[in-house]
Symmetry: C2
Subunit: 327 residues, 2 copies
């Protein structure tokens, strides 16, 4: 007896998932399509787990290119995994969508999987639902047991380092919001830093055993350094003259905007870390191997808090330390 | 030299997390407060991972009691873990909140941790941000390697079983929406089924080795059974007379509403599973041990799709099979 009205035709929701978000697994025992995915960390490794939610209007401009948004949605989570010294392996993606726009979804998925393929990550599951645009990723990395680089390990005498060029994303956002005009040669670079940040996955993994404490710069350089200082129960001293100003000054003639972007601008996803002086040579070699600038921006002392100091060691005022969603 | 403007006073966002969402860990190497949490599955076990997102207006009424909403936000994820036969261990929670309402948050957290404590789960991390109300949980269970109960194992000759009393949540929702009036004796029970569902964690774990295929009823009994039929490449035959109608008929005199609630109502989070006849005695003993009804509602045949049949084996029409967010 046939009952065609009851055969399991694919629903629009399952069709959406299958069309845009199901790819072959690299390293999961079971991927999307059941109640749960199944994964196992490698022997001797533990899992590093993080969740980040991106909301339209809060984390990205509503008209952001969906392909770049797909990249960024994953990249900001991989950055948290990298900041533990872990290697990203698997992610879940939960999406709330105002409607079913297959062109938008195809572009979003292309950017998401571009990032996933770049860093060798499987999308193992998730959820799709209707509602205001909201993107929530949970990412899983693996790290040899006991070797994760936490925020609480900085010690007096350590040096403070930052990768790449923080501040570009904040300048890119200010340009898009019409608050300033960037030099033509720097405009695309700053907007790309905002919309398609590079999670420092190789750097993070290589800093295991070198860095004493690490965080990624998502809320602002001084704010995120404050989390290291608090967790490590130390004072972090940032030397103003040591900060990487040159490229930002070339990009933008508004000195106050440049200062705010570098000191308090989030969204660059560079790694900020502490390491003893004995690590200097290894860090120089690592920087050369990765083709990625590592800048020594200060040092750790006994005490508490974060201060910015001038060439004479005098404390300098800071207008803003970073971003808080509820201040 | 002191620089009080730079000391790391707790930000409103971190204060929110610490006040409402940080509890001692049962079994995580590292909980909230760093870039990632750190966890390890027990030796010989793999991880079962699921994400569910709840959106105001789509998954719950905007005026839902926040304590019950906290419970449900976690419970629906633990149900997915249970439906694999896995034991829930850890969860992350990402929240988008329209504002900072500490009373609402305290009630939401109380319900969330009530559920977490009931099922022995650690909240290991997450994210808080500003935006339309959206709650996203990722849950991790552990299950002995290779022993997870998937959707694709049903075989011709298996019996189809469902736990508890599916359909109550749909009747509770219809009552809250003013679409029908329930019998006074059943009203609170149906609304509790909707707002504070019981994930069948003990049942799910006990069904390893007994059930050939399993899913939780979230979208609707026939729709979710369709997922088993599709994954198992079999036909699922539901016998109308075998379904647990009695309690629903006592709760509601609207026969069409009762039929729709039991056949297509989601949100009960009962377990729907298949098992060979040889498992009958073990299932009866399990039902008695857990104090939880297990009802045999049909059987598996060769073929495909899901059909509902009357006492003569004739196919019966079905108005609706379940819920789809994008149909």
């Amino acid at each position: 007896m046939s009952a065609p009205q009851h055969t399991a035709a694919p629903s629009p929701e399952f069709d959406l998932i299958r069309r845009h978000f199901v790819r072959p697994m690299r390293a999961a025992a079971l991927g999307p399509g059941d109640d749960c995915a199944l994964v196992s960390p490698s022997p001797g490794h533990e899992l590093a787990v993080t969740s980040d939610m991106l909301v339209a209007g809060t984390h990205f401009l509503p008209d952001t290119d969906p392909r770049r948004l797909g990249w960024k949605t994953l990249a900001v989570n991989l950055s948290d995994v990298a900041a533990m010294g872990a290697t990203p392996r698997w992610v879940t993606l939960a999406l709330s969508l105002p409607g079913l726009d297959h062109d938008w979804l195809a572009a979003f998925a292309a950017g998401f999987f571009d990032c996933a393929d770049t860093f060798g990550v499987d999308l193992i599951g998730g959820d799709t639902t209707r509602g205001p645009l909201n993107l929530c990723v949970t990412a899983f990395g693996e790290v040899a047991c006991g070797r994760a680089v936490r925020r609480g390990g900085a010690q007096a005498g350590d040096r403070i380092w930052v990768s790449g060029q923080p501040g570009r994303a904040a300048l890119g956002l200010a340009e898009l919001l019409g608050r300033l005009t960037l030099a033509p040669a720097a405009r695309a670079d700053c907007i790309t830093a905002l919309e398609q940040p590079q999670p420092r996955v190789a750097l993070g993994a290589a800093l295991k055993g070198l860095a004493s404490a690490m965080i990624d710069v998502s809320d602002g350089l001084l704010a995120d350094l404050g989390h290291i200082a608090t967790a490590s129960k130390v004072s972090a001293v940032v030397e103003d003259a040591a900060l990487p100003w040159t490229a930002l000054d070339a990009a933008c003639s508004d000195r106050a905007a440049v200062r705010d972007a570098l000191l308090a601008g989030g969204d660059d996803y560079e790694l900020l870390f502490c390491a003893p002086p004995a690590a200097d040579a290894a860090l120089a070699a690592l920087s050369a191997r990765l083709g990625l600038a590592l800048t020594r921006i200060g040092h750790i002392e006994a005490g508490q808090g974060v201060q910015l100091v001038d060439a004479s060691g005098r404390s300098m005022p800071v207008a803003r330390r970073g971003y808080d969603h509820f201040s």
